[in-house]
């Protein structure tokens, strides 16, 4: 079976890109006082990237 870290990592990298892009559109919510899309997007990019790096290292 393929290393699960590959599809998982790719999924979160893609999500991270989407949220980071959305953070520049000014999307907000009624009670939100921070750019949550940006912080979460960057975290997802880092998380997904880490998974991909771990998978590459293992292979």
């Amino acid at each position: 079976m393929h290393d699960l870290r590959n599809p998982s990592g790719l999924f979160f990298v893609l999500l991270g890109l989407i949220l980071t892009a959305m953070s520049f559109t000014g999307a907000t919510a009624p009670l939100l006082e921070m750019n949550l899309n940006l912080y979460t997007g960057l975290f997802m990019l880092a998380f997904g990237g880490t998974l991909l790096w771990l998978a590459k290292r293992a292979s």
Binding site: M1, L4, P7, L15, L31, L36, Y39
Partner: protein, 550 residues
């Protein structure tokens, strides 16, 4: 709640990935064992997260947030005493028997240890419970998406069912497990921002504590008196009912979670699975419960901009999670949150379906309908059982629409079945004198005791259908805990009595199945990876958390 195009795109991306994982997993399916048990080949880190995610259904995610708003930090007991100690126990003490016996399922272990009738009783009750549970999960998903997004009930149910069917039909247990790991990551990352944002808005834990009654922000201080704490339970009921019987009854015997550990690639990995899972399990209250507590605190603050919606004269606690998401999640993250909610429903459904098809194929079909068929036949049966299981779940979801208390019924059924089962396993694994007759009649007596307790007592207007009531509990939670205590106690007493009056199996038949006749495995891993020390590390961390929120 209005979704933007990007939110739908995120949902579609998720569906693409879960189907893709199922597609790739199908390539390794050659035998029924590959399909139904993953051929005992999964690495520890995957089985650990799947062990956790299979239990992390949306009813838990939504329900725990709701309970956080209603009961405060005491809700964390469902994790800190209601899960982690049992997870340590099953990893350290029970997994050598489950994995070492080479049983393909929990009912099969009962057959090896006791006899066929005990296996049959457990297999049939478990199969029925998993289908109902999967169906109730679909019903809850359909209702939620209907209320929150305006999607039709049928669309939500059929869409989720078809996606789960596709990836479990293709890749079997491996696909379900791999997707559960993805779903776990998504659930944590999808809801953690909500917990952070809501808590910051409420002024952090200090701000929350200053706005709520003290019994909502202390987990043990008010647990000694049922009239003092919001759960309406007293210490013995909490510790013995939840912390011992219900907790161990679920985490140590429910094949849905045990199956994930049994799919591991070695005995050491199987033992480490629940122990490693215990670490994120301890942290989950901060993801799923804390938002609910913050929601209540924000409701108490005039001008915060947020208030829990009302339902009759009280709060609609079940709406806490979705209303928080609507207030704190912008487009993009809203799609992630809803996808995480969908993922939590689907992980619960897939977990139940894969457990169902393993038990049905091996413990019911192969045992009673057609023995000694070629393995290809059982592989085909496993696949078709997946289809039937999903179909029955859909049917259950529609039936559930006709009753307004079906979730309560499901919780009761779990209590009736799992509580006595734990007594049976304790005796079976640690007392070689326990017999098949004792196990079988003990299980039936325990379930009957649970039913009698419910029928003769009342709590919040529920129960007391046998007359009386003989006792009135301050809450349904207290009633459920005591039902479990009585069920376990009666099962234990009857099992011991009948066992002593019947002939046990010879020692040679029990090797590898019971303590004292089994060589406990030696783990060559470093000390901090061995089950015993790992369990102690988990316990120390758990103690720290309990003291922190005393």
């Amino acid at each position: 709640m209005n979704l933007a195009f990007v939110d739908y795109a995120i949902l579609a991306l998720y569906f693409l990935f879960v189907l893709g994982i199922g597609w790739f997993a199908r390539k390794r399916i050659k035998t029924s064992s590959d399909f139904l048990t993953s051929g005992h080949s999964i690495p520890t880190w995957i089985t650990s997260l799947a062990f956790l995610a299979a239990n992390l259904g949306a009813q838990e995610v939504i329900g725990m947030c709701a309970s956080g708003a209603k009961y405060g930090i005491m809700t964390a007991h469902f994790y800190w005493i209601g899960a982690v100690p049992a997870m340590i126990f099953v990893g350290v003490f029970m997994m050598p028997f489950y994995y070492g016996s080479r049983a393909r399922s929990v009912p099969e272990y009962l057959k090896l240890r006791f006899d066929e009738k005990t296996r049959g009783l457990n297999a049939i009750t478990f199969a029925a419970m998993t289908v109902f549970s999967s169906g109730i999960s679909m019903y809850a998903l359909g209702r939620l998406f209907e209320l929150v997004l305006g999607w039709s009930f049928t669309s939500s149910v059929i869409l989720s069912a078809l996606i789960v069917l596709a990836y479990t039909y293709l890749g079997g247990l491996t696909s379900a497990i791999y997707n559960e790991v993805l779903q776990f990551f998504l659930i944590v990352i999808g809801f953690a921002p909500l917990a952070i944002a809501a808590t910051i808005k409420a002024g952090g834990w200090q701000g929350i504590s200053s706005r709520l009654d003290a019994n909502l922000t202390h987990s043990w201080r008010y647990a000694g008196d049922a009239t003092q704490n919001p759960m309406g339970v007293e210490m013995f009921g909490l510790v013995a009912g939840l912390g011992f019987v219900l907790s161990f009854g679920y985490w140590c015997t429910d094949f849905l979670v045990v199956q994930r550990a049994m799919a591991a690639n070695s005995m050491a990995a199987a033992r480490r699975t629940p122990l490693i899972a215990a670490f994120p399990k301890m942290i989950m209250p901060f993801i799923v419960i804390l938002p609910g507590i913050a929601a209540l605190a924000l409701t108490k603050v005039a001008g915060s901009g947020y208030a829990l919606p009302m339902k009759g004269a009280g709060y609609d606690y079940d709406a806490a999670l979705t209303t928080l998401m609507a207030q704190f999640y912008p487009a993009g993250l809203l799609g992630v949150g809803l996808t995480a909610l969908m993922a939590s429903f689907m992980s619960g459904m897939a977990g139940n379906v894969t457990a169902f098809n393993t038990v049905f194929t091996y413990d019911i079909y192969q045992s009673y309908i057609r023995k000694d068929a070629p393995d290809e036949h059982y592989l085909a049966v496993g696949r078709w059982t997946t289809v039937v299981g999903i179909a029955l779940s859909i049917a259950t979801a529609y039936v559930a629409q006709l009753y307004n208390n079906i979730m309560d019924l499901l919780q009761l059924v779990f209590g009736f079945v799992n509580a006595p089962l734990f007594a049976t396993f304790l005796l079976g694994m640690f007392w070689k004198r326990a017999t098949g007759h004792g196990a079988f009649w003990g299980l039936l007596a325990g379930s009957a005791a649970a039913w009698a307790t419910h029928g003769l007592s009342v709590a919040e207007g529920k129960g007391a259908y046998f007359g009386g009531p003989l006792y009135s509990f301050p809450s349904t939670m207290a009633q459920n805990f005591w039902i479990a205590i009585f069920a376990w106690t009666v099962c234990m007493a009857v099992s011991v009595t009948v066992s002593l009056a019947t002939a046990p199996k010879r020692d040679e038949e029990l090797r590898g199945l019971v303590y004292g006749l089994t060589d406990m495995p030696h783990d060559p891993a470093p000390w901090y990876q061995r089950p015993g020390p790992l369990g102690i590390i988990v316990l120390v961390a758990l103690l720290g958390l309990n003291l922190l929120f005393w």
